[in-house]
Point group: C2
Chain length 280, copies 2
């Protein structure tokens, strides 16, 4: 185990054995910690919660205070976007460290990272995985297996993070922050908002038959509505313009007169065919 | 087989051995035919397409012309809503027959059924099952296993249809036409419309990373967008008022300012918790 961790750490330009630290051990952070520990890394966890259960499971080697993050070789900020922005301002990162995050919106994070001390390498990250259930109770070392993980950073930074993503079974996808945020407004943020809005409308209408008259397609559509506000508050706030634009575009298409709707169905089917081809 | 079919037919007030006929042998009709044949019924199929492949599979006993539907004990109209309305006007149903349908909107169908000859029992039906793929190629005798199947009709009519639904493994749910249409505007028609509109927007934007940046939640949200226009044209046309009202309500909630969005997330999570409790 120690030698594998050493081999990995050298990818990051760190002395052999420099540990990985995960700041925020909820669903995403604890899953990454678990996967990295399973791959032979020494992983530290920092969180307001007591992480003794994660030490017991072998998912982290030990819980450390936030100040100790400066001693890690690489740090994953696995917090809501607001927490990531705060950590980038307040944690005393030092030259030679690799810092990355998991926030669902990237331009504000990359903007804040510009103020890190010289010599700290920052790479923005966004794993396309998750679950409506939060907390380390829902975590799994396999959460990222087969999932894409967007990376925003320079060549050297991305090349340093990618071996860590491979250790989790994730597939890295390099992109620009603005492109990422524009696209996820449609592929992630608007679906979240619409699923939440429909479930809230169903809750308000209080129709006794609503659950009984939900077929498999409607249930899939609504699945994201179980997600909690704490993560989404920051994402929706920081990508508000793109999400509002996406909402109005989709509403306009949905409200099209019947004669124009046929075109929408045909275009949608073309997209879905390409999507299925991409997945296989 | 013949004796089981006879026993079933007597549920419908028909002479022993009177066959079931399925008008429209696409995904839904062929799946019902397959399930009923497997349960021992004699099933006839009527369709513009050649149904020889269904005879070969043993899913129907034979293909019959539309005129022969009058000789069946019970007839399932498994067509798009426009086709159901046309069949109710044009097929020469006769007293003693049980006629039911699978249309996704019920008030217009029940309205048209009022003009059936005296002695024809009509029960509106709507199976909460399906697949984006259409045609009998995608059919399965198990499509309805565990699915709910809404029924709109009087006590005797519903009681006559229910044994047939049990033969398919479906669970009947009696409701009123107006209640059904109001609820499915939210649980089925609006999800279809929004998934289609989002996929059409993604197709129009032509973002190279759209497929790569679709996580599991976004993919589930979009799944309905593969559905074809031919079925949905009629449903959306005939339930247009309720769907437009649902669209504006959901859009209003989604466009709420951040301070109000927290309430939407909390209400949505309450609905999803109740939904999960109902499912188990």
């Amino acid at each position: 185990m120690a030698s594998r961790a050493g081999a990995r750490a050298r990818h990051l330009g760190e002395p052999a054995g420099a540990p990985l630290a995960v700041f925020g051990c909820g669903l995403i952070g604890a899953s990454a910690a678990a996967g990295w520990s399973a791959a032979g890394h020494e992983v530290w966890g920092a969180d307001r919660r007591d992480l003794a259960p994660l030490v017991e499971r072998g998912w982290i080697a030990r819980q450390v205070p936030v100040e100790a993050l400066a001693e890690a070789g690489a740090v994953l900020l696995a917090l809501p976007v607001g927490g990531i922005l705060g950590a980038l301002r307040r944690v005393p990162f030092r030259a030679g460290q690799l810092v990355t995050d998991v926030g669902g919106v990237k331009a504000p994070v990359l903007g804040a990272a510009r103020h890190l001390p010289v010599g700290v390498t920052f790479v923005g990250g966004h794993p396309l995985a998750g679950s409506a259930a939060g907390g380390y109770e829902a975590a799994s070392p396999d959460l990222f297996r087969g999932a894409r993980w967007a990376l925003v950073g320079d060549e050297a930074g991305c090349a340093a993070v990618e071996p860590l993503l491979r250790d989790l079974g994730a597939e890295s996808l390099r992109c620009a922050a603005e492109e990422h945020d524009r696209v996820v407004a449609l592929t992630s943020h608007l679906p979240q908002l619409l699923a939440t809005a429909l479930a809230a409308e169903l809750e308000a209408r209080d129709e006794p038959l609503a659950a009984a008259l939900l077929g498999p397609g409607g249930r899939d559509f609504l699945r994201l509505a179980a997600s909690g506000w704490s993560v989404w508050r920051d994402v929706l706030e920081h990508n508000r313009g793109a999400v509002e634009q996406a909402l109005e575009a989709v509403r306009g298409r949905a409200a099209a007169p019947p004669a124009a709707l046929e075109e929408e169905f045909l275009a949608a089917q073309r997209f879905m065919r390409r999507l299925l081809q991409n997945s296989t």
